[in-house]
Symmetry: C2
Subunit: 214 residues, 2 copies
Amino acid sequence: MKLYDYFRSSASFRVRIGLNLKGIEVERATIHLTRDGGEQFSEAFTQLNHQQLVPVLTDGDVVLTQSLAILEYLDETQPEPPLLPVSPADRARVRGLAQIISCDTHPVNNLRILNYLKTKMDQPDDDRNAWYRHWVDLGLSTFENQLVENAATGKFCHGDLPGLADICLVPQIFNAKRLKCPLDGFPVLMKIFETCMEHPAFDAAQPSNQPDAE
Amino acid sequence: MKLYDYFRSSASFRVRIGLNLKGIEVERATIHLTRDGGEQFSEAFTQLNHQQLVPVLTDGDVVLTQSLAILEYLDETQPEPPLLPVSPADRARVRGLAQIISCDTHPVNNLRILNYLKTKMDQPDDDRNAWYRHWVDLGLSTFENQLVENAATGKFCHGDLPGLADICLVPQIFNAKRLKCPLDGFPVLMKIFETCMEHPAFDAAQPSNQPDAE
């Protein structure tokens, strides 16, 4: 397998955690998202993924895009240790938590959106940062509420083993810290975040531990 | 089961199609997203879903949120007809297509984002409509490319049976039409859209056929 990623991309970060949890070693290729106007726009990379987004994971001839689809693929092809619990209701809970981040929080704040606000809507840095913090706060508030309310929450988002929800949560917290979003209001998820970061699979996947880190 | 939805919500539309494909009848409750400042913000609904978003599907005591998590739950609990193909690579393709819409296109253009652009960033209607069309065009372009390139594309997005990718595509096209986004550049996906709309499960789920349609 070969992973095309960028150290700071949080969708790539998710896939790196999943690979580490499964103990899968992969070849790596850096797609630098800001150098030379963005290597994701190169002809070679566009040929691989017309979306011009990282991560991409190739498995032989199979080209996989979209971080959550990749993680489900890993879970289906190499089931141990599982990224999702067993019962459909529990799986739906974990996927729902993951999607609070992957659908409703992260896409609204990614690089291309912030670029659009700057270049096409003339929004100054302060207003773009306020935008960023607004959606992070909203996403993490609902995430925290769903953790607090549910007896299935354990050392990790679901029980005492790391899974898909933790995989989405941790990179979002890294982004939130980088943009100085207040996190005091989220004691439960921040405790889980700290537990995750003590886990070698999460630690090895963090941006500063990547070969292309700056 | 009970579905809390709104006729115009495209995430709700997805779940309605899935339920129809599976032949599952559900009780319905309308959560009107603009009346009285938005019924999704009411105390009763917030108690059910802290995210204050539709759809919510309840199955006995189980409260399900996030449209894609709900659809995977339906597929796991009532497998026939399947919403996903059999092989992990094919499942990843279909989930990846679904996520082009559900992660990268729809969340950037939903009601709360457009409201923020209007109220907090003073963006006039023209600029908000340009924003909307930009992300629709980008999302549908990549979707079209992934359909054109892949021999697995059939009468529907994957083969000749409707599934998760079609379920995400169709409501997005409805939104695109409502906002007058140009669709001439997407002949393959528009053909699939038309095939879908001839299918009773899709037709019965469309906004104008809902009890709360205006």
